[in-house]
């Protein structure tokens, strides 16, 4: 049935939400999966691993409206050291914003990479509210969509999937404020301190 190589392109891989999404995907997949994090030093190793898989799943967060530089560096290596049989590339992307559509341009960048380098493009799952959604009652929605992504990849279909928290934007603003306030509190930082207008103390 083939194998999927799951590559985590998050710069904070050990503590990343992308790692959790990748684990959920591996659990949902009927195909064999192998999980690897992209680091600064393992690009060639991952290019070799890509030769042993039928599909690649790139899992990453949105950084500055586009794929993180961790992943961009790897894509450069993959373009320079392509496997003989190019795997189909799919994307599982998350952003902290409520609107999964904010990921659209990043997906197009991956598609442009695939087009330029001859990789077939597969399916996409875009997650909104991705920083926190797994810790909310809506986590089941993500698991369900990840299941659909896994099914699409297993059958070779190209699907474009999206998921976010089914709440109003106003509710989201309130919930995200509480989330970040609590994040600061754990570091001993108050909301007022987090609200500073100063940059580098000026």
């Amino acid at each position: 049935m083939g194998k999927i190589l799951i590559l985590n392109g998050s710069p904070r891989e050990p503590r990343s939400n992308s790692k959790q999404y990748a684990a959920l995907f591996a659990k949902a997949s009927r195909m064999d999966t192998e999980y690897r994090a992209i680091t600064k030093t393992n690009h060639l190793e991952l290019c070799r691993a890509a030769a042993d898989c039928d599909q690649l799943l790139l899992v990453f967060p949105l950084y500055a409206d586009s794929p993180p530089v961790t992943l961009l560096h790897f894509l450069r290596a993959l373009a320079e050291h392509p496997p003989a049989e190019k795997p189909r590339v799919s994307v599982l992307i998350n952003c902290g914003f409520l609107e999964p559509e904010q990921n659209d341009v990043a997906v197009e960048i991956i598609q442009a990479f695939c087009q330029a380098n001859g990789y077939p493009f597969g399916s996409v799952l875009e997650i909104g509210g991705g920083e926190a959604i797994l810790n909310t009652p809506f986590a089941f929605l993500v698991r369900r969509k990840i299941g659909k992504l896994a099914a699409a990849m297993a059958t070779g279909r190209s699907r474009r999937l999206k998921v976010t928290m089914p709440i109003t934007k106003k509710m989201y603003l309130g919930a995200s404020t509480t989330y970040w306030e609590n994040y600061g509190k754990r570091n001993g930082i108050t909301r007022a301190q987090m609200e500073t207008m100063e940059i580098e103390g000026r």
Binding site: P11, A64, R76, Y183, E200
Partner: protein, 171 residues
């Protein structure tokens, strides 16, 4: 203040240093963002990685006119510019607001700016379109009030930058 930020060396006419700052990212030591959120939740407004980036994002925030010069790859900033843009998140707050109906982070003291982004390299029509859309999205997160994207060949970059700065009232 004007800011020219480039991912390569440029030979430019001498500028008034009180008016125009020029950052050659290719000469800077800037490591990539590690996504720790320290600049939002531990040392708000300051990156915990104390390399050259901490001198640059205050300039990005304080400038009312910016010219970013970058190689474009697959419709994205190449890694030199992209690394710096990712490291600039201390200019934002963790907290989220609605802007044009979309959720975006609040900005700290970031001056509204006129921006020109000059992309160079072999860039296909499709990649140009993707890059334009990327910069449009950046506009919401980088406080660009007015933004223009231009493309040109690598060997024409210096001339394109010179032509651009000649249109500025002060340089």
């Amino acid at each position: 203040m004007n800011l020219i930020m480039s991912d390569r060396h440029l030979e430019l006419p001498p500028a008034d240093p009180d008016v125009t700052k020029w950052v050659d990212l290719s000469q800077m030591k800037i490591t990539n963002c590690v996504g720790c959120f320290g600049c939002w939740t531990k040392t708000p407004g300051k990156c915990v990685i104390r390399d050259d980036a901490v001198k640059i994002y205050p300039l990005m925030a304080a400038s009312d006119r910016v010219l970013y010069v970058t190689r474009v790859v697959y419709g994205c900033y190449d890694t030199v510019m992209k690394t710096m843009l990712e490291r600039a998140i201390p200019v934002q707050k963790a907290f989220i607001r609605l802007l044009h109906g979309e959720s975006h982070h609040y900005q700290r003291r970031v001056v509204p700016k006129r921006a020109v982004v000059l992309g160079y390299g072999e860039v296909s029509c499709r990649e140009r379109e993707i890059f334009r859309r990327l910069v449009e999205r950046n506009a919401s997160n980088m406080n660009f009030q007015d933004v223009r994207v231009e493309f040109g060949p690598e060997d024409g970059v210096e001339q394109a930058v010179r032509d651009e700065v000649l249109t500025w009232e002060r340089y």
